[in-house]
């Protein structure tokens, strides 16, 4: 079999065209590198558009007491101190610059009365901190970066007569394998979705910015693209994954109608005054404030309500607790029989503010409910419940350079696909700023790495042939198993056995079932040829979803405590001993997932001093504090 394979040479290949990928590509192009952007969808359709609330950055526009140290503190608290402290530090320090930079690309954020970027309240953030555009901030971000890339292409056109001379977008293209030269990345191999033609992009430096893994779950806010491609590519190339047991279940996904189950209801609904009620009409969140947060949250409805207008003299409403707390609370209410008919709780703005205010402040939520559910949120409450939203875990990276850890060189990762920054739980608003801060860093350091090599790594023909064989294999198994059935079965395993609340027996069972699925996925088939064939595409994605799911299940079984996005019914409390441990996944020579414990890097003393001693005692062991 001799396949035609289109071949390209680049300095930096960025896999993923969401916020992190585009920001990395901009940086690589600015560093003078010939850059390719690989997008699984059309250019500008990335999952980043789903981010509604905003981008967290301590610019201090709404409250001048805000600064990077407060933001750092909030991020560490939100992540239950399991964050890579250095990433949290860099993120808090650099986020404002990254946001301001977007304005020079043409972004139009909402404004304060004095003309600065407006900032809004969000769960877990001490001050109003989220730069936003109504509730479509992610769209603004992606469009701005997309248009900046077009602007760079226009500069290149003026100079060279070719728009794509320095930066090219390969839209609707999927990468199936990274090829190595020894321990260095040498190329990315994949196919054009449109034609099914194969493509090889040779490059000394590759940036992974492929987003998350939510498609392995039944109820998810994530699109079909979120199949853990980058996680799996990294593993197979010799990199490691950390924190894979931590998945964020966003507390408020739509639960009715069934077709939209999982789609997000932005947290700004709560930030702007929306409250959660159970079927008894009780504002139940007051019953779920954990001790570690009791000081910052109101214990009466009166105080909570005063906070929206006078945040300096009142404590925050408990609806604004970090996402993991709210998700668990809703889960408990529904389990106790106080949920709605569709298995959610009520989220109400209709009795809280005038209709006009609702449509102005939450235009896309109004629109979403009106058009998808035929519900007028100015007149009646929404029905919401937890939905799989974000994976905190991901590629283990060097905090400063975004270079992947493990035994591979030339591989970088940024955005949701990377791990460490958010610890065990991500604060809302921290992902948009995360992907800007570390997207830039990944682009910068990938370029510097490419620069530092004297000769380009070489691809072996045998590797290319093997990759081509693997990519085309499902098409030759016409009687193989239906990929859609396999995906449903995988989603059932993960949703039912590795969901919000986890137990040892179920996790062991999940691992057994994942093993069975692995054998079936090896025999998946696709009918219908190579041209834009979604069945074939899914057949190839399944392999990635499966290996990443196995990492999650393994790590979830290993970590015997409850923290952030990992709740064990059999180990319901946080354990300071476990806080010192990162669970690291790698693939061994046989392609089996290998899990090991590694120490979490210890925070520098001057950063530790930003916290009160009393707070640290809730998270840390005595010996750490002595």
């Amino acid at each position: 079999m001799k396949e035609r394979i289109e071949r390209h040479l680049y300095d930096v290949v960025v896999i993923g065209a969401g916020g992190a990928g585009l920001r990395a590509a901009i940086e690589a192009r600015l560093a003078g590198k010939r850059t390719a952007i690989i997008s699984k969808s059309l250019f500008g359709k990335a999952h980043t558009v789903m981010a509604e609330g905003g981008a967290a950055a301590a610019m201090g526009n709404a409250n001048s007491r805000d600064n990077w140290m407060v933001h750092f503190r909030d991020t560490m608290r939100g992540g239950k101190f399991l964050n890579n402290y250095r990433m949290a530090e860099l993120h808090a320090k650099e986020a404002p610059e990254r946001i301001w930079e977007l304005e020079t690309y043409g972004a139009l954020f909402d404004r304060t009365p004095d003309g600065k970027i407006s900032q809004r309240n969000f769960g877990g953030h001490e001050y109003p901190r989220l730069a936003h555009v109504g509730d479509r901030t992610g769209l603004e971000l992606i469009r701005t970066l997309q248009q900046k890339i077009v602007s760079l292409q226009q500069e290149d056109f003026a100079e060279t007569g070719n728009y794509e001379s320095r930066i090219r977008v390969f839209s609707e293209t999927t990468i199936t394998e990274l090829l190595l030269d020894g321990d260095r990345v040498a190329a990315a191999f994949g196919y054009y979705r449109e034609s099914g033609e194969l493509i090889l992009l040779e490059a000394p430096a590759i940036v992974l910015a492929t987003g998350g893994v939510g498609r392995s779950y039944k109820v998810t806010s994530n699109s079909w693209e979120y199949t853990g491609d980058g996680h799996a590519l990294a593993l197979r190339a010799g990199a490691t994954l950390i924190n894979m047991e931590f998945l964020q279940f966003h507390p408020t996904g739509m639960v009715w109608p069934p077709s939209v189950k999982g789609i997000l209801v932005t947290e700004s609904v709560r930030g702007d005054g929306g409250v959660l009620r159970n079927s008894d009409q009780k504002r139940f969140m007051f019953d779920y404030v954990p001790d570690v947060f009791r000081k910052q949250y109101a214990d009466t409805e009166e105080e909570a309500d005063r906070w929206y207008t006078d945040p300096d003299n009142n404590r925050r409403p408990p609806e604004l607790l970090p996402r993991d707390e709210v998700a668990r609370a809703i889960n408990s209410e529904v389990k106790a029989g106080r949920g709605t008919k569709s298995g959610g709780v009520f989220l109400d703005v209709s009795t809280r503010m005038p209709a006009e205010t609702i449509t102005r402040r939450l235009p896309s939520m109004y629109h979403q409910f009106k058009e998808l559910a035929d519900v007028d949120i100015t007149k009646e409450p929404m029905e919401v419940g937890p939905t799989c939203h974000y994976v905190m875990g991901g590629v283990e990276v060097d905090p400063d350079t975004a270079a992947a850890a493990g035994v591979v060189r030339g591989l970088f990762a940024a955005g949701e696909v990377s791990g460490g920054m958010h610890g065990s739980n991500r604060l809302g608003g921290n992902s948009l700023s995360d992907l800007l801060v570390f997207g830039k860093r990944a682009g910068e350091h990938a370029s510097a790495y490419a620069e530092s090599l004297d000769k380009r790594p070489k691809v072996r023909t045998a590797d290319v042939e093997a990759a081509a064989g693997a990519a085309l294999a499902p098409l030759h198994r016409e009687s193989g198993e239906n990929p859609y059935t396999l995906q449903q079965d995988l989603q059932a395993v993960m949703g039912d056995l590795v969901g919000i609340i986890r137990r040892e027996g179920e996790l062991t069972d999940a691992l057994k079932r994942l093993h069975e699925l692995k054998l079936r996925v090896a025999n998946v088939g696709a009918t219908g040829g190579r041209r834009y064939n979604p069945g074939w595409h899914l057949a190839l994605d399944l392999r990635n979803m499966l290996v990443v799911s196995e990492c999650t299940a393994k790590a979830a079984l290993e970590r015997e405590e409850s923290r952030g996005g990992h709740t064990r019914e059999d180990f319901p409390t946080m354990n300071p001993q476990w806080r010192k441990v990162n669970l690291v996944c790698s693939l061994d020579d046989m392609g089996e997932v290998h899990l090991e414990r590694k120490p979490l890097p210890a925070m520098r003393p001057e950063l530790l001093e930003l916290f009160e001693y009393g707070e640290l005692t809730k998270y840390m062991t005595d010996e750490e504090l002595s």
């Binding site: 930079e101 248009q147 602007s151 069934p258 559910a373 219908g528």
Partner: protein, 305 residues
């Protein structure tokens, strides 16, 4: 409950409408039905989609002949006995089944000059008032579903116009930059007229009608672009104003322009040829008979064979 669907299957070499009977549950949208067809009957049925929440603009298609987003078209909007016919966007070449080649839109976007940052303002120093950014923000709501491009009859029925005509999506981009309080370029309108084929638009508002984000494309972008082009080119007062006033004060200057009784035709004034360009291309014979955009009656497939 099982219902009847007709879906166009094929590729650039041709195709046909195929029939599918599919179960429909309470609260579902058309995209759910397509997913069910994929999962149970035709795993290779090609269809773009991403967010399934009306935010990404991927699942554009024609449903009973109307340009719609599959994820935003609720099955409850059809009669229970109604056959739903799903076809690809008509103005773009078919790749396969419901997927079309929309590169036309990206080519036009790449030709539109990007935001030009103001000189002397460092990042973090940008100051704008909410009321001033709101006009551009309306256009930045665009999710690039290209339904407006697909429905615009300047290109829908006239492939040959694609060269000269960039379409409503590009016009709102031009308007957005024109209204951006800090954009350093001042020739956005002239550019739209000279390079984007603004004159071809004859304001039938089909684009506004299909916009899932309810952007008032015609009223808030195209008409202001056209009007201001007239102002700038022909009104000496405005010309003087531009010399005297700073650009940001211009908006507050008294509306100068064509005298109220002078009914000037926009296209005619701006064209190099007398009578102005035909909005439907210059190769038309008159009277025009086939250019009115009509929604096909429900159930009648707009594209067969």
């Amino acid at each position: 409950m099982s219902r009847h669907f007709r879906v166009w299957r094929g590729d650039s070499s041709g195709g046909e409408i195929r029939d599918y009977d599919v179960d429909v549950n309470d609260g579902e949208v058309v995209l759910d039905i397509i997913h069910r067809i994929q999962a149970t009957q035709a795993p290779d049925l090609a269809c773009r989609w991403n967010c399934k929440a009306g935010k990404c603009g991927s699942c554009s298609m024609e449903i009973n002949g109307k340009p719609r987003l599959g994820c935003m078209t609720r099955m409850s909007t059809f009669e229970e006995s109604e056959t739903v016919t799903i076809t690809p966007l008509r103005a773009f070449p078919v790749i396969r089944d419901l997927v079309t080649d929309v590169s036309f839109n990206y080519t036009k976007a790449r030709e539109t000059p990007a935001f030009s940052p103001p000189e002397g303002l460092a990042p973090g120093e940008y100051r704008m008032q909410q009321i001033d950014v709101e006009r551009s923000q309306e256009f930045r709501k665009c999710i690039e579903c290209f339904l407006c491009q697909n429905t615009c009859h300047v290109v829908r029925d006239h492939e040959e116009n694609k060269e000269a005509f960039s379409g409503p999506r590009s016009f709102i981009r031009a308007a957005e930059l024109d209204m951006h309080p800090l954009d350093a370029r001042s020739d956005r309108k002239e550019y739209a007229q000279a390079n984007q084929g603004l004159g071809y638009c004859n304001i039938t508002k089909c684009c506004s009608e299909v916009c899932p984000e309810h952007i008032k494309i015609t009223d808030n972008a195209i008409i202001p672009l056209k009007e201001r082009v007239v102002d700038r080119r022909y009104d000496p007062l405005v010309w003087l104003g531009r010399k005297i006033f700073r650009r940001d004060q211009l908006a507050e200057a008294p509306p100068a322009g064509v005298a109220p009784d002078a009914h000037l035709d926009v296209g005619e004034m701006l064209s190099t040829q007398s009578g102005g360009p035909s909005p439907f291309g210059d190769d038309q014979t008159f009277p025009l008979t086939d250019i009115t955009y009509q929604h096909p009656a429900p159930g009648s497939p707009s594209r067969e064979g």
